[in-house]
Symmetry: C3
Subunit: 455 residues, 3 copies
Amino acid sequence: MARTPRHRRLVLPLLCLLFQGATALLFAVFVRYNHETDAALWHWGNHSTVDNEFYFRYPSFQDVHAMVFVGFGFLMVFLQRYGFSSVGFTFLVATFTLQWATLVQGFLHSFHGGHIHVGLESLINADFCAGAVLISFGAVLGKTGPAQLLLMALLETVLFSVNEFILLSLLGVRDAGGSMTIHTFGAYFGLFLSRVLYRSQLEKSRQRQSSVYHSDLFAMIGTIFLWIFWPSFNSAPTALGDGQHRTALNTYYSLTASTLSTFALSALVSGDGRLDMVHIQNAALAGGVVVGTSSEMMLTPFGAVAAGFLAGTVSTLGYKFFTPVLESRFKVQDTCGVHNLHGMPGVLGALLGVVVAWLATHEVYGDGLQSVFPLIAQGQRSATSQAVYQLFGMFVTLALASVGGSLGGLLLKLPFLDSPPDSQCFEDQIYWEVPGEQEAEAQRPLRAEEQDTEA
Amino acid sequence: MARTPRHRRLVLPLLCLLFQGATALLFAVFVRYNHETDAALWHWGNHSTVDNEFYFRYPSFQDVHAMVFVGFGFLMVFLQRYGFSSVGFTFLVATFTLQWATLVQGFLHSFHGGHIHVGLESLINADFCAGAVLISFGAVLGKTGPAQLLLMALLETVLFSVNEFILLSLLGVRDAGGSMTIHTFGAYFGLFLSRVLYRSQLEKSRQRQSSVYHSDLFAMIGTIFLWIFWPSFNSAPTALGDGQHRTALNTYYSLTASTLSTFALSALVSGDGRLDMVHIQNAALAGGVVVGTSSEMMLTPFGAVAAGFLAGTVSTLGYKFFTPVLESRFKVQDTCGVHNLHGMPGVLGALLGVVVAWLATHEVYGDGLQSVFPLIAQGQRSATSQAVYQLFGMFVTLALASVGGSLGGLLLKLPFLDSPPDSQCFEDQIYWEVPGEQEAEAQRPLRAEEQDTEA
Amino acid sequence: MARTPRHRRLVLPLLCLLFQGATALLFAVFVRYNHETDAALWHWGNHSTVDNEFYFRYPSFQDVHAMVFVGFGFLMVFLQRYGFSSVGFTFLVATFTLQWATLVQGFLHSFHGGHIHVGLESLINADFCAGAVLISFGAVLGKTGPAQLLLMALLETVLFSVNEFILLSLLGVRDAGGSMTIHTFGAYFGLFLSRVLYRSQLEKSRQRQSSVYHSDLFAMIGTIFLWIFWPSFNSAPTALGDGQHRTALNTYYSLTASTLSTFALSALVSGDGRLDMVHIQNAALAGGVVVGTSSEMMLTPFGAVAAGFLAGTVSTLGYKFFTPVLESRFKVQDTCGVHNLHGMPGVLGALLGVVVAWLATHEVYGDGLQSVFPLIAQGQRSATSQAVYQLFGMFVTLALASVGGSLGGLLLKLPFLDSPPDSQCFEDQIYWEVPGEQEAEAQRPLRAEEQDTEA
């Protein structure tokens, strides 16, 4: 158990090189361009643009990509001395996940003729998986080193993809924006993992587990980018046409409502009516989570507003009242409060999906039923049956996430993974060369004579 | 007039809940998906992508959305102790405006069969309205509480929408990028409102009414995002095809010129040739404002450059020489200088639209005249007549903005709205739990032995 | 040589006004809308959307635009006292370049009938040129004033456009993402320029040539935006359809690999296993540079990963071991390490393009060969011949960049250009009114009684 700098020097680079070497090898053997990215299989002259989904999905993809890296990365910068790690490890872990998810999801979804065939859809799905991994990262932020996080991503990517495959492909569950597959899964995976890694002596690092003025402003960069791009996140994989259009619209309205309820509740539950930045940074986004399943459905604009309002309320109350209980009673230390932003709103979103699916009729959806609920349209299922499947999907997700997160916690306890000591949690210096803030000399205003003389 | 923390604790949440409840109710009764977002009314299989405007407008919409929340939000973060409020209240006020504008604009523009029919166009128009409200916010930044700002948004959204309806629908005025409807309206609404709320004792908070090094860098995030996405802002509602293309191009060139003239003038008017961040952050953007009306027209690339140059010059000179006069002589305290960035360039943009409309001929526009000036193309108006209508539209805007802003000022004087005292303006702590910058202990570098021992 | 504030007061504004006046005049005489932006030449009703490339390229264009201004601007903010200049001069120099490049590239590429015809393609190409100029800026960051930088942009834009014209139009070289034309050219132009401007007494400013905690976080904004939008950068000018799709995909995978290798190498080469922010901010991006030439080709996903891995490795090692040698031995002071991020990966990217072109066959590309290698498809060249041309293009680029950069260095030595003195490098105060960080008074927490009394 004696960790020395020499040891630390080797674990992270060796893991990176090992993982990169392995994925590169698998890329060489298995990964090929799909028919839309291969020059020989596709040629522009033979097709009309209309057939090329790439152009209808690329703007959404770029927004999703921005959410994962800018949004999650900066949202977690709120800690006073963990900015380098928050944005840096987000970068590292998400990046590895993109490669690894391409492979795992490829084997499950687009493996034929001995090869995985990749295109824009692969990139979007990999980004979604990275989103789930970063949600889990939020639960253990500050208490895990980069080598641990890489192992977490390795395991979580597999389980995420398996869960997604079970829900979407085997059970015929609808979950375009991932209330279940991304948010519920990512949150409970992270929470169970954090439970296993419970630190009774975390008090020793408590003075660093808070924000400073500027770190909160940096975190707001993350919040705002997540907020503005969430309509693209939920609509990226939905059916072209009215499906994407409706999904974006529902998500937009749900987010406006969760923001308003967050401001209301934040002021209401504080002792003196002041707003709490933690609520604004996080709970305001719960509206995007809660319509992840149902925003492609005929939720109605009012339904979107009501769902967002509920999610913002539950999320803010969670930060205020439930997070402390989670730690004291359930021994789950949830640094970013992912239970409030992703866990509870994710489960609510799954249940909302159950209700909206249950209400689906041929009359309301018309010919569009085929896009949203193909099994109902084809007469293979009733709406009630679809609702039951949706509910079952949620329980599958919770089961896989909790088992997976617990296993992950055991895995991350491997002694060579260089976990930070209790007194050095939430601290960049243990993993980064940190410059400090010593700009005192430089701040001294130049005197006029000095400038002239110099010149 | 005795405001206590208990009282403050209730005003904002009650307003949020009241407003959200009311809009939710109206959403339930009136708002429905339009034919492009409803699954039954639209089904992909029956239409070609080409017919779905959604895909041609969505990327621009996302840029507009980013401008409103990232751009305006961070542009106003420049004050040293008002970052939470700048970005937070932007978030709150813009969010409420999006819901409320959907309703008000929906009643005016897309109300038929007893329902408001919403789609992407509704979202873009709501974002435009939020832009105007945030411009007004810039004038009173630091001197108004969140409850006041919500009431301002309530009133301004109605007047904005009425003004827009009069100009675009009744008068047949062209104003795609909103030199009049957004910038002129938002600026003078805010300035008249600020006039009514004039504080003779604002000197008491003067020490906080300036930037610090990092807050200026945060503000540059806002500037740069506004700058890069402005071509999308002006082109979002224009005719598809050459119209959007030309609008984006004109806006791009106009912004390059306003940036160059701002740098030139900023150095020229300073005492010692040094540049002023206030000018760069703001006046450089005046090129986007000044072509708001005319960028969809055949302005010519040279016309765009000339207009941008003029706007940057006027705006910079405004910050240097006119803002102090505005306060001392006209008793208008304009925190962000919206008169310089939106007011004067907006009026200039309206006048430029008058001139360019007056020059419109069938020869120059060809068949495209139908898209840009349908009333001229249909023979219902001469170019001169269109120019007169454009000019009239500007005066209508100024009249509605000044009357509306004055009314708004009276409304915001309602005593229960919890306005900050003169000595606590530009201060986050009155509305937010603020963490301070006490990271001294954490900054201490770890000693080598400490690390080893810990581990 | 006596520079006084009065003198300084005039050089920058006069240059700005002179340059803007000249480009405005040239715009008036030469620049016209092209057939896709002119209302009379193009009218929507007569065309189908499918024919309008604007809609397929606009989202990529906006990403490129964001990379140039947000990405490069903030990436260079890492210096503790040079944030205003980094983001401000990026803004100034890039803006001027956009106008000037429109003219220079227009004369070379779209001049007919006595006019330059501009459209979206002009904007994309101008942004690319601005990218190259900003790379050069990175080499001399902190050691040059804004007037010098404007002159650099004036010269470099001409040489960039000439080099690009020679490669793409005369030699038939393929270089969509600009490994040669943008990165290699920009880097070596800047490095030779920095060589000529070598300061033996730069030690006097060394205390400012480092980051502080917050400046490194601001720089990460630049890194992340460059990273997420690079797929659009490389694909913006490629053939529609599979070409853009494949280019985006290759770039995405290459960047994931360069990020992983950067993390691995950064920890490996440090004394104690800690990560270095300089590496993460920069070397992680080398994967975008290295596939600039080959990402539109049939590089294969594995090829992209391998190339990215190599680039991240070379770049990180460059920062660690070669940058000091470059200064001590070759007297090249490279502030941002552009040799590591753009120079070496750019040359590697050119060589990779040689190899991948050499491997091109009709079998692999099918009908798509016409888009990627039209001269091979038309039988005018063999693949080997194309490879030789690619290699020749790299040497032409290196030759033009080194001669041009050296000339640029001599030009920038003109005494009236107000270069900062050796002891005032990396310092904003010499060019900007800087507010300092004196927010001490404001930070004092309000006492409860104070708040109540005030109210």
